[in-house]
């Protein structure tokens, strides 16, 4: 294990050296080094760590029932919520027609389970806006200060807590306080909600219908004389036709069916038949930058959005969707399930091109372009060691030749040590790809504290 990590590290350094040879600015070098020497690792957090409750140690979070009587917080079965979700969203739509902005948000979203058993959790949430003091404004110092008691001199460390939460979104969506309050619903339902309630567009062009080697069986063929189900309407028509020929129907205004004769071959039946299935299907690649600079909010934004996109596409293609998950720092790897994709911690440097290249390779090797509508969604904070996109742009060009849509989301840092840098955006704009192929490639920049509403808006930008 150690060795492989070392090897990995050496590779990165080699890449860094090669970049250096080609000439980079001092600022750039500093930034790269910062990521490079970060000793974090891409591990998937342990499950128990995920389920740890957030400790409520705030002054006002104590209450008699919970503390004194040891009462548990009540929880509502999700079925009860589901009913109200529809009503609430309906009400929310009326708000809009009354001229007020919407208020319901689809809450925190994913509860990834291992082995592809991901649960999407839909919790209707809202906030009652008031004029209140901004708690995040307090200087870092005040914010983190709390009471304490017991032994210890000033400066002594009295305890440690693994920092799972700001990293790799371990304690991300679906975690924490919401616990038992969740509504479990399938991603498909969420896609439906997104499409219908939040008015995400339907896909305009679902791509060409491609034949699959699948067949379905349906009662579509008609047969005279025998079969499984009598087609009454067709049979009646036939009887009328026969009797017109026989002259049993002299006056169309005065029909006397009692005189009708029925021939055995008038009976029309439907029989089971084999049908070729013409469904369009999609292959979605989700690419996530999990380099060191993605720590915290950007990761959260990217994964939240990818869940939404995944759900929406699932609905649009009536579940005919296959997904592939790719993580990248300077190297790209494909991971098996959404769980790993979602939870892998950030570390290492950034080379966007590596991910694009991997997608191109997969598509080519597996010859996917003839059978699938291919979508690629990439989430990053916009950092790239390859500042001018010398490697990334050609790969992108190749990618858009076969995909239905490439959507790139840049979660822009609002604060922190790499604030506002967005090389990816710069070189994409410079390359002219965005302007030349607006139907194929889209870029959207969201701030890293975007809420769901903003994320949905962003999806609209990426796919409409």
């Amino acid at each position: 294990m150690e060795n492989s990590v070392d090897a990995d590290h050496k590779k990165k350094f080699a890449y860094f050296e090669s970049l250096k040879k080609n000439g980079i600015t001092k600022e750039q070098e500093e930034k790269i080094l910062l990521e490079l020497n970060d000793d974090q690792k891409h591990s998937v957090p342990e499950l128990h760590e995920l389920n740890k409750p957030i400790l409520p140690d705030h002054l006002y979070s104590y209450s008699d029932l919970l503390v004194l009587q040891n009462h548990t917080r009540p929880y509502v079965a999700y079925q009860n919520y589901l009913k109200s979700l529809d009503e609430l969203l309906e009400q929310d739509r009326k708000r809009e027609s009354d001229g007020f902005p919407r208020k319901i948000r689809v809450g925190r979203l994913v509860k990834p389970g291992k082995g592809g058993k991901d649960k999407v959790v839909v919790v209707p949430t809202t906030v009652e806006e008031k004029f209140i003091h901004d708690p995040s404004f307090q200087s870092k110092e005040e914010e983190d200060a709390s009471g304490g008691s017991g032994e210890g001199e000033e400066g002594d460390v009295i305890g440690e807590q693994p920092m799972h939460s700001p990293d790799g979104s371990g304690a991300g969506p679906g975690e924490g306080e919401g616990g038992p309050h969740e509504v479990e619903s399938s991603a498909y339902d969420l896609g439906k909600i997104l499409t219908e309630q939040f008015e995400l567009p339907n896909l305009k062009d679902k791509g060409k219908k491609r034949s699959l080697t699948k067949y379905t069986y349906d009662m579509t063929d008609r047969n005279r004389g025998y079969g499984q189900i009598l087609d009454k309407k067709a049979t009646l028509k036939k009887i009328v036709e026969t009797n017109i020929h026989l002259g049993n129907l002299p006056d169309p205004d005065d029909i006397d069916p009692s005189r009708f004769l029925i021939s055995p071959s008038d009976r029309i039946y439907r029989i089971l038949s084999r049908e070729k299935d013409f469904e369009s299907q999609a292959m979605v690649f989700f690419l996530r930058d999990y380099s060191g600079s993605m720590t915290g909010n950007p990761t959260e934004v990217v994964v939240s959005q990818h869940v939404l996109i995944y759900s929406w596409i699932l609905y649009q293609y009536a579940r005919q969707v296959e997904t592939r998950f790719i993580l990248h720092d300077t190297e790209a790897t494909e991971v098996d399930d959404f769980y790993t994709y979602y939870n892998s911690k950030v570390a290492g440097g950034t080379r966007v091109a590596s991910a694009y290249k991997l997608v191109n390779e997969i598509v080519e090797n597996e010859n996917l372009k003839s059978d699938y509508n291919i979508y690629v969604f990439h989430g990053t904070d916009g950092d790239d060691w390859d500042t001018e996109g010398k490697e990334a742009v050609p790969e992108l060009l190749k990618m858009i030749s076969y995909s239905s849509r490439v959507g790139i989301t840049i979660a822009e840092r609002k604060s922190g040590y790499q604030r506002g840098s967005s090389e990816v955006q710069e070189y994409l704009e410079k390359s002219g790809l965005l302007a030349d192929f607006p139907e194929l490639i889209r870029l959207d920049v969201v701030s890293d504290d975007a809420n769901e509403t903003r994320l949905i808006e962003s999806i609209r930008n990426l796919i409409s």
Binding site: E30, L33, N37, Q40, D57, H58, L59, Y60, Y62, S63, D64, L65, L66, V67, L68, H71, T72, R73, P74, V76, L88, Q91, K94, D98, G99, F100, P101, P124, T125, T126, V127, E128, E129, K130, F131, I132, H133, D134, P135, S136, S139, A145, S146, G147, G148, S149, G150, G152, E153, E154, G155, D156, I158, G159, E160, Q161, P162, M163, G178, H181
Partner: protein, 550 residues
Amino acid sequence: MELIDQKTKKIMEGCKERARDEGLTFQDESLEYIVSNRDLIELSPKNMIPTLYDYWVHDVEVLKEKGKYELYPANPYETVINTRPAISFYNDNNPDWLNVMIFYHVIGHIDFFQNNIFFKHTWDYDFTGEALSDKRLISRLRSDHGRYVDYVIEFSRGIDNLVGYHRELSNLDNLDCRDLSKRLNYYFDVFLQETKSIKVNDYIKEIERYNKCLKENKDHAENVFFAEIETKYPEFDALFKKSIEKKTQRITDVVRYIIENSPFLNQEKNKWMKSIIEVVRKTALFFQPQIRTKIMNEGWASYWHEILFLKDDRIKGHEVDFARVNAAVTSLPRVGLNPYALGMRMFYDLEEKANKGKDLYDFERIKNVIERKDYDQNTKKGKEKIFDVRKNLCDFMFINLYIDQDFVNKHKLFVAGKRMNHQKMVWEYYVKSKDAHAYRNMILQSLYHPPYIEVDPEKNKGNTLYLVHQFEEKPLVNEYIFNTMMGISYLWGGPVQLETSEALIIPKAKTPKNFQYYFGSQIDEPEKPDIKWQRVVYTMFDRKLTKKIL
């Protein structure tokens, strides 16, 4: 939800008697209910008030990340509510001995509700009763006006933290100086202090002069007193008259101002909205004292459940059980702020000090540590002192007055800091300061404190409502401004302006970051950026928000 059985009720009544003997005072009647989980689902969004009006937000998970306690300043899991009679809630499987302990705790709360002056405005009526009729009113209005009822509730709740709680209280307060003439009050309270800002000893001289007049000529003291002032400050009379005029049209809180002056609400067809706003305002006022006395209230109740239960013979055989439950509730956490633990210790401490006379000025003047420690005047005023504190103080005053270095040392309190250790990838908790001043400030910072926003009628131009947010070095949550102002604008029926302050954060000029320093050091010391404040005006007009820098 059902009442507790007769046997348990009898236990409660016994507890009341013993509590009375110790000096607690409260109304005779109280109601105790058993609650199930199902009941709690319905009750907790309504802050345990069973008759609170229905509102759709109660059915939705509210987002809890941002400013939770500032947005929802009431506890969803309160055991006892401040109604007449007081209602309290219990698990159905509490053993009897535990119920005795909880009853004492509950009685402590009831005593606090019914004696602390910050609850004064809730003393004369039963909130559940009024809430029930309000609930009916709102559901009737809902059948007439449909979802617009919910909009009005929403927009009123958007400003229900600007209800002028303290002003409401001071209107109720019959302080002794009320009997004095307005002229006298104005002279001493405003004119000398604010207009003239005279020195303290000159001020005292004036008081002495007044007292002298009073002694010499009781009936005409005031006239004699003011005769001199007319020559000394010829402008006084005019200023006084002006202040009276100003006071009569003095603006109450934002909500009240809107109810009284909104052109929109005063239209015949919209008058029904006013009653909804009143309901929301009243509800907000009802919950205000609870959150402002959390530490005191829980401390007081914990103090009494401990004292009373230890004296109660029903503890026999359950001493260990009690010790466990009590410790879980009232032990000081290693990290965190437990209001039960802190408040209880403060009351014990106060009592002990007052018994020794340490609450008096003579003691304050002693600087010698050993002398301070051994000081004992045997004044035995401890109980009297804590009852007095329970009557007159709220959390802010309580913390501000009584957390001193002796207290912090005695209980080994400290401000705990949290910082990131990059190398170990953990959050470290560390002892940041053992200074009483720092500890006090840390608590004061975490107390509930809504922004101070009022209407400035002089700046209302045309049909515009002008709100002023007083500067306290705390900016507002930016993303909430739009919806809140849109709501106000709807209720006002015209444009609304909000004057507030925003912080421009100027990052420290970057010193070239020493790489080794950044990763080699254990701690990530927070850098304090410079902050520049600027005054801005937001304008909500036609559902569009614009901002202008003043």
